[in-house]
Symmetry: C2
Subunit: 315 residues, 2 copies
């Protein structure tokens, strides 16, 4: 049986999986990216993991990888802030030179979108968006049945559209970007804003900004904490308003939410959907735009999406 090798290169770890045509993972491997000393060391570990996975009688159809800061046209990874790499790493050339099968590289956000599109919550859709709510906010957009990349490959930067003029400072240098409100970090910032503006007691008041995580807030909310619950409601309010704008721009059949913050389930989805309904244009009211949870999960979406790319290019 032919198998595709999908690779998901992240700042913390790099994951590999052999995937069949139906999206079933038949073998997995991973290694630490953060511990690597440079791209030479990275490729050494990558090839060792590949050799291990491909030992025995595997017919390899092709290889595809998702990575941050991927230049899809050139097959290079460029100026990746969270990878221990030189400014420009020849990923496709290096891997193809060793393996002799087709090799492709896509942006990590596009890899996840491809995963949800071919095997997950957005299966078969012509228009959808995937928002990955982690430390930041990642986005992949499929419009008219195509990934939307923009003129220079930087389209779909949903994390950095402005939702509040002169709002929160963002790492990108601007103010009021969506990800400063809607992400694990954004949720924490909202908790600190609420602590400043309200007087209710809360176990969250005994944890420092540095130590607090989205998980603390999630657990406090589940335990009924006023501040934590309010933070989720405010996050959903901002997200729902942003989804109404996404509907106005792209009118997707569905917007799929993924990533750690989306795991909070109803705590996030309920206020989000309620806010979307309130802010939606007339022809989008009545739940016209579906808000769905990822069915693949953050861990496998990019791996499966990379594999989907291999199968797609075989047809």
């Amino acid at each position: 049986m032919q198998l595709a090798l999908g690779i998901d290169i992240g700042g913390t770890s790099t994951k590999l999986a052999l995937v069949d045509k139906t999206g079933r993972i038949t073998a997995r491997s991973s290694f630490s990216t953060a511990d690597r000393t440079g791209e030479g060391d990275f490729f050494k570990h990558l090839f060792a993991s590949m050799d291990e996975l491909l030992a025995g009688d595997v017919q390899l159809a092709g290889i595809a990888a998702g990575a941050p800061s991927a230049n899809e046209q050139e097959g290079t990874i460029e100026n990746a802030a969270n990878l221990p790499f030189s400014p420009k790493v020849e990923f496709v050339k290096t891997v193809r030179g060793r393996c002799g099968v087709p090799v492709q590289l896509v942006k990590d956000s596009n890899a996840s979108s491809l995963g949800e599109w071919h095997f997950g919550a957005a299966k078969g859709m012509k228009n959808f968006m995937l928002l990955t709510l982690g430390t930041g906010l990642g986005c992949g957009i499929v419009a008219n049945g195509q990934l939307l990349g923009g003129e220079f490959g930087h389209g779909g930067e949903a994390g950095h559209v402005c939702v509040q003029p002169n709002g929160r400072a963002c790492g990108c240098g601007r103010f009021g970007c969506l990800e400063t409100y809607v992400s694990a970090t954004g949720l924490k910032r909202t908790v600190f804003d609420i602590m400043a503006n309200f007087m209710e007691d809360s176990p969250l008041r005994s944890t420092s900004y540095e130590d607090m995580t989205a998980r603390h807030i999630y657990e406090a909310a589940l335990a009924g904490d006023f501040l934590a619950k309010k933070a989720f409601v405010q996050t959903g309010e901002v997200l729902g308003r942003a989804l109404a704008d996404m509907a106005a721009w792209f009118e997707p059949e569905a917007i799929v939410l993924s990533g750690g913050l989306a795991m909070a389930g109803d705590l996030l989805f309920e206020p989000t959907i309620s806010s979307l309904e309130r802010h939606a244009l007339a022809f989008h009211k009545g739940a016209k735009i579906k808000v769905l949870a990822s069915t693949l999960g953050e861990n496998d979406a990019a791996l499966l999406g990379a594999a989907a790319l291999v199968w797609k290019s075989k047809t």
Copy 2:
């Protein structure tokens, strides 16, 4: 020589033009839409205008029309607020029944985009946006070389994305929509806001809200009026910030500005481009996203775009 018949159906008038393959208009006609008593009366006038234009030795390649509230799949015009029509008008069926050539119908904003794309400022581009700044704000988007329509044909609603939470009331029922700031009406609202907040004398203070037009403000600004100039600067500030977000979403090669307000030239373009540069993401700074004036003008873009559709479907 074969010619295409382009039709631009607007609330005030309906224009017709015979157009050759290069975008040259060889003959024109028009009649009042507003004076019609219903679609029967409309088609009577339309067919009379067509008969007149097509008299003599015209080889008609096809007919295409741009209209508000067009259902492109069905070929119908549905619930058009500004046309004297029944809720559902069978445009394509009616015109084809009489003419025996291919007939197509597109949304007016898409018609204008097709015009700029095939014959105007966006000629040959794979990714661009057209913003028409008139009474409201219309938009057409080409991404990956395709018109972006959305799942139900309501995508690209740039006039109704939120640029100011809890901002100005909009006719759509929401608050803070882009067109409440960036349109001829938006400019007027901005003047009244400035009159309330500043104390400088201005000839604009002697004109009522009902009587004031964008042309008054334009002329006052040209004459050096403080309030009027400030209104253009504030409009450009909001528009530039919105363009930065459009760049983040779509990363077009260019954003083309059309419509009455865009005719103000540098008064609008200078503060807009300066604001875009300030608000743009790092990889869009340095004038990466062109801001261009329409080269066809509001009057001909939709006519030429409709004609382009005829030629496109012949190839």
